[in-house]
Structure formats: structure tokens, C-alpha cells
């Protein structure tokens, strides 16, 4: 199971990478919108986690382009706070409030995988 984790903070990418690898996933990281889209095509991730606020291309545009390219790849939006009313979370497959406690993210990824397996 390959995950593409997108965030503009390298430390956060490092954290996610180690934490999610601990969970047994293959983790590819991108620290910009541009890189995310390149890797999305190149690496064929099974799941993408996407930060919304990024300096070059914001997460919402990245989300749209990814959905246009491969609509079936689940994308989890990482939001700074409860963003459930935002349209970006409607088109994404799930959203998770960004937190140092990654349990919620991990749980969501599991749910999506289980859903995909059904």
C-alpha cells in the first residue's frame, strides 16, 4: 500500500513518513503542490494525504487536478481545523484535522483501505 503524503513542512513530512511506515505503508512525500502532482502520476500512490495550505499550488487545486487525473484514488484532506463545511472536503474522500496526535489519521487511512477492500 503506497501513500503519497503532501505537505510544505519537511519536519511534518518526516514525522508522517516514519509514523506511517511504522504502520506498514510505503510512504512517498512531496513538499509542494507541483511535486505532489508529479509524484501522483509517477508513483501511482493508493492513497493521498493532502495539506490544504501550500505556498505554490494550494491543496484545493491539487485535489481537483488529482481527482481529474485519477478519480478513484482516495484523497484525505488534512485540515487545520474542522473543515467539514468546506467544499474541498466534500469532494475529497475524507478529512482529518491536523494534529500531533496521528491516531485519527491512521484510523481514517485504515477505514479507507477496508472500504476499498470490500
Amino acid at each position: 500500500m503506497k501513500l503519497l503524503v503532501v505537505d510544505d513542512e519537511k519536519n511534518i513530512l518526516k514525522l508522517y513518513k516514519v509514523e506511517l511506515e511504522d504502520e506498514g505503508y510505503t510512504v512517498v512525500t512531496a513538499n509542494s503542490g507541483k511535486e505532489a502532482l508529479e509524484l501522483f502520476e509517477k508513483e501511482n500512490p493508493d492513497i493521498v494525504t493532502l495539506d490544504i495550505l501550500m505556498p505554490d499550488i494550494d491543496g484545493i487545486r491539487v485535489l481537483r487536478q488529482m481527482k481529474e487525473l485519477k478519480p478513484n484514488i482516495p484523497i484525505i484532506m488534512l485540515t487545520a481545523y474542522d473543515y467539514r463545511d468546506d467544499f474541498s472536503v466534500w469532494v475529497s474522500d475524507a478529512y482529518v484535522v491536523k494534529s500531533s496526535d496521528l491516531s485519527s489519521l491512521k484510523a481514517t487511512i485504515k477505514q479507507i483501505i477496508e472500504k476499498g477492500n470490500q
Binding site: D7, E9, N11, I12, L15, A80, D82, D85, S100
Partner: protein, 871 residues
Amino acid sequence: MESEQIKELQKTLRIYELTKAILLVDDFDELLRIITVETTLLFNARGSIIRIVENNKLGVKASIGISNNVIESTSTIDFVDGLSEMAVMQDKTIIYNKTDDISTITDFNNALCTPLKTGSVSLGTFTVIDKLDEQGNAIPFDENDVKLFEGFTTIAAIVIKKLCLYEKALLKEKEANKEKLKAQELNIYLQSLINNTADAIITMDTDRVIKSWNYGAENTYGYSRDEAIGKSYLLMPDFLFDIERLYTERVKKGETIKNVETVHKTKNGSIIDVSITMAPIKDLYEKIIGISYISRDITIKKKTERELMKKNDMLNRLIFIGSAMRSTLDLERLIRMILTAVTTGDGFGFNRAMLFLLDEDKNILKGVMGVGPSGHEEAWRIWSTLSMENKNLNNLIEEIEKGPLRKDSFMDKLCCSIELPLSDNTVLALSVKNKKAYNVQDAHLHEYANFPLVQHLGSTSYAVIPLISQEKVIGVLWVDNLFSRRQITDNDIEYLSGFTSQIASAIENARLFERVYQAEKELENIFESISDMLYVTDTDYIIKSVNQAVVNKIGKPKKEIIGKKSFEIFSDTFVSCETRFKNFLKKSGEPLIEEVEDTFTDNTYLLSCSPILDSSGNILGNVHIVRDITELKKLKERADANERMAALGEIAAKVAHEIRNPLLSIGGFARRLERRLADEEKDYARIIVDEVQRLENILSDTLSFVKTTRLKFSKVNLNEMFDSIITLLEPVLQERQNEIVEEIPHDFIISINEERFREALINIITNANQFTTSGTIKIFAERRSIQIFDSLGDFKIRQEAVISISDTGCGIRREDIPRIFDPFFTTRTNGTGLGLAITKRVIEENGGRIEVQSTLGEGTTFKIYLNNEEE
């Protein structure tokens, strides 16, 4: 001898001539001349003089042979030579010889002077001067001469006397003739006077048979002289026979009847007013033989008099109506009074009348009232009962009020339905435009008669008079005589025009009064209905008047408020202000406005105090306006809070974003460490994790608060929502031993964004729970109607849902209440301070508002108001 004979013959001849002359000549002066001439010749003398006594003087009446200067010098004085005087005095013939020298006058040498006498009456003297001889020398008179002269003088005296008498008679006759002539002239004059005078001068005998008939009579009565003479009682109308007979009897008894005004009948049957004078005609023996009858046609005078009386009468009525009109300011009553005056018989006597007033906004004439009977029968009934005669003002007004000229008559309804545009060329409109009265004799022939109106009213003859007050037309008066068919004359119009100016000003006054009254009412209404408290005090703080708002606020009836001192009624807060106001006002005279907080009611008031000044600028009292601005203040506070939050939110969001990612890294790796560490190190890592978590929570709340959301609204059952919330919060409620009570009507549906609203409610209940121990949290919901003004300014009633959540907790400190919804405001040590701020934001996003009421130590109530309009 022969010469003697001749002389004697000559003498005799002279005497004969004299005698002949005396007998034949009847002219006095001529006779005297002849006597002097013949006597001079008789005596062959130089001259002779006859003097006649006139006015006790001897004046020269005739002379010959005497120089004129002598005559003139002696004509008026006593006899010049003294001879005449002497002769008269001595009553004998005096013989004068110059040699005797008895007189200073020596113009002549000899003279004979003898008195002229008849009987004993002396008429005068006769003097003959200077008898001459053949040679022309003067020779003295002898005795023969004396005898001859005396004898002759005696005859002359008789003749002179006779002539004198004759002369006198002649004079008398002349005078008599003159008198006669005068009388004749007078007669002619009188006749012409009689004939030419305009007065009828008639003479009649005692049986009233007409004997003479002048032109005046002909002109006055129309009968010619021939037609009149011989008739009796020709001029009297039948009904005056008795009176005329009475007059005749009185005149026959010698009385004169002067200037009696009566009426006579002329030939063509018309009755004329005359003034008659009847006097008896008497004959020489004072016997009454007839009657003179002078009659003067005074029809014109009478007519003028009647006009004058009518005008006077009219004037009296006008004054009466005028005072009646001034007695009322009720417009409708006034107009009814006016129309009554116009239509009553002894008013202006028109059959029907309508009053139109000008509506300047619509530019039309609007009928306001009409009076008039609907038919002949009603006409007579009305006119017989309605009369201004012998009525005082009160009676008249009462009669008008109750009288037959009712408001709802046919005529009135008709009138009130009429609206005439001024733009049309109708008589009524023209009357307004031209400020002119119109007398339409025949509407068929009148260019501007409004025919539909004419048909409505059924009369083709009417008059329209403008009502002009201060040069401005305010309406028109319409009148007609439908029933009497009496033609409206220019006189009528003239009278009415005199009246209309009074009408106009009375109406203007009444309208003005109405407007003032209305304005007063409006003011009173405003005063009463204004939601601000309004009260007026005098300079001693005594309350003079208050409005309803004060009554509502104070909770006492007006009569218990008015008359009291303001500090007895209002709280100290107001009164202390008032005192300050008073001092301030004394100094400046300017109104003062100040915001005060009433510590007793916790309300905020805007107090305004304005002085009431009299015309000389002294303060009579003050008008106080007290506006409860508590709500306004709250609103303002809310607006301020929002502003504060917006500013804070922006900063918070920036900060949050900046620290979010480092925190995440710190927290994430700390958790990693924690898992791998043991013992103390594990605990230290745990502290990092917890603290990061706390910071992250703050960030999350902050960002959640700041973010803008698009809300999805759905209909939510409030009962169910609360049920689920209470279930969720059950553990924490039990933890603090709080009981929750729900009082929500069944199926209480509200339209909200469910998730967000739920969060808000959870926040409030959690908050309540945290400040309450072993208490009750009560949830209550209701619907109510509120009055609002929509965006178009229209008044509307709207449904509102109110959800209140009260606790019996410790309450909020008074000074904290305004800040309770501020972000980061918290009294808890472990709170983020964002809970209520977010709640407020959420509720506002849902189109509602939240309020808090709290009493320290008793509890707090949050009230949420939501628009519950069905969309």
C-alpha cells in the same frame, strides 16, 4: 278914453282866456302856466309866480318873466322876497313898492302877492311883478289891480284846488292800475307754476268733484284734463275710500292735511306712492267752497326708502349671521349655518345652495354640503319653519342643528358626490379662476355651463359666487331658485357677494382651527405614543405633565404622578441629573443631553433636558426626554465585540497557522519518543505531548472561530437535538450532579445548520454545567411574534423562536457580562476562552442572536433568538 276902453277890453279878454283855460285845461301844470301867462298879460306886468304849499313849504309851481336863477334860488326856500310868507301869514294881499324897502331883494320894483285860498284852506300864493306903463317903466299897482287880482286869484284857487284833487285821484287810479297789473302777473305766474310743477295740483269742490287738473296731475295719473274734470274719487284705490272720505271731512271743517303718504291708482291701474296735502279753498266770506289737493309721486323715493330698509335689514341679518358664524369653529356646523342663511326666506331666500371647497392638491372643487328641499311641498314646509325672525343666536343655531336642513338630504348627498376639475372650463371653475361671480340665466345658452351637472341639479338657471378670503379663492357657493323660479338678479348676487367674503373668512378660520386642532391632536398623540418617557417640570421640580411611557414605566396612574416633585417619582439617578441639568441650564439656557446608568434597574438612559422659555427668555420649566437605551447600548456593545473579534480572529488565524506546523512536529515526535522511552523520560515526553495537545486545541478553536463557512440549513427537530446532546453530555452532567430539565414544545422545528448549531448548544450547556454544582439546567423554548420593520420600511409581524438555557450556578460578575462573548475571555483556569465566542458566532451565522442575563450567586440565562419565519 278910447285907450281906456281898449285896456278894459283887453282885460276882459284876458279874464275870459283865463276862465276858459281854467275850465278847459285839466293838466295841472299847463293850467298853472296858462294862469301865469294870462295874468302877466292882464296886468301888463313883467312876470308872475305861483307857489303851492307842499310839505309846509311854498314851492314854485309855475312862473313867467322871472330869471331862472331867481326861481332856483327861491324854489325851495321860503318865499324869497318875503312877500308870499307875509301874504300867507297875514292872510291878505300885499302890495310891494321898492321904495317901501321892506326886503333886501330888489330884483323887481313893484309886486302884488295874494294867498291862494279856497275857503279857509291856504293852497299857496300868487305873485305878479312889475306892472309896466306903455313905455315899459314899472309903475305901482293900484287898488283896481288889487281887486282884479284878488278876484281872479279866487277863481284860480278854486280851479287849482279842483285840479289838485283830480291829480290826487289820478295818482290813486294809477296806483290801483299798477296793483291790478301786479295781481295779474302773479296770477299768470301761479298758473304757470301750477301747470308746470311736477306735483299734481287738483282742485275739487266739497263733494270731491274735480274742478281743475294740472299737467302734473296728468303726468302723475295718466288722465287728461278732460278725462279728470267732473269726476270724483278718481284716484283712490278701493281700499282707501274710507280714509280719503275722512280726510275730506276734516278739510271741509277747515283743517289742512299736510304731507300724508298714501297710495293712489293711476289710469293704467298701477299703484303709486304719493304724498298728499289737502287744504280748504275759502271764498271772500271765509266759507269753504272747495278743496285744493296737491299730490306728489313719491314712488321713487319710497322705492329708495324700501331699498334702504331692505339693505339695512340685510345688513342686520349679515351682522347676525356673521356673529353666528363667528360663534362656531366647527367647520361642518359653520357651513350648515351658512347654507341655512343663504336659503332661508328672510336670509337670502335662495331655494337651494351648495358649497364647494377648493382642493389645491388635486386641483378640484369638491362639494362639501348642499341644502335645499327635494320638492315643492318640502320647500314650503322648510321655509315656513326656518326663519331667522325673532330668534336669538342660540335658537338659530339649535334650529339649524335640528332643523330640516339635514346633513344627509338628497341635495347634500348629491353635492358631496360632485368633484369638478379646475382644468375644465365650467362656470364653477371659471368662478375660481377669475374670482368672479356668474349668473347663469339659461344654462342652454351659456357657453361654460356644465351640462351634466345642470341635468343632475335640474335647474338651468343658477348663480355661482366665489368665496374669497384674503385674495385667495377657497371655494364657491352655488345657488338657484328651482322652486320659486324667481330670476336671480344682479342685486341678489351683489348682496350675496357681500356675504361671501364673510363666509370665506369664517371657513378659513374654521379650517385653520381644524388644522390647528389636528396638529394639536397629532402632537398629543406623538407625546402619548412616543416610547421615550417624556415629562415636563416647572422650576420647582413639580411634574406638570407626563406621557403614557412614563405611566407605563412608573406603574402609577397619571393623576398620581402629576403635581408631585420629580424626585418623588423618578429614581435618584434621574433627579441628581436633573439638578445638575438645572444648574447647567441656568447658566447656558441650552438643552443638555447625557447618558446615565440607573444603578437600580441596570438600565442605561439617555436623558435630555430642554428649557421651556417664555417670550422674554425666562425659564418656566423643563422638558425631559428619557430614552431607555439599554437595548441600543447592548447592540452597540455587540457590534463592538464583533469588531474586536474580527480583529482578534485575523491575528489569531495568522498566529495559528504559523505555529500549527511546528507544534505538530513537536507533538508528533514527542509521541514517538514517548512510545520508545520508559520511566521518567517517558513521563517527560508525555508532558510535551500534553502541552502540545493543549496548544493545538487552542489553535483549533481559534481557527474554527475565525474561519468563514458556508452553511447548510435544514429543518431540525429541536427536541431530538437536545435529546442527543443531553445523552452525549450525560456523563459530565452527572459528574457535577446537575439535573437537566427540558421544556420544549412538541415538534419544535427550527431551520438551522445542524452540526454547527449543535456545537453551539453543547458549548452553552457545557459552560452552564461547569459553573453549576448540584443545580438545575433548564432548557426552555417558545415561539413568539415580534414587530419589525422590513427593508422597505414596512411594518411586519414575524415569528421568532426563543431558546433559553438557564442554570442555577454561580452567575457572572456584572462587570464580566459585556465581555462574556469575547474571544479568549474565560474565568476558568483550563478554558480556551473561545467557547462562547464561537457559540455566538455560530448563532449569528444561523441568523439569530444570543443574550445573557446573570445574577451573581443565582445563576445565568442564555437566550437564543432565531428567526422562525417559514420560507
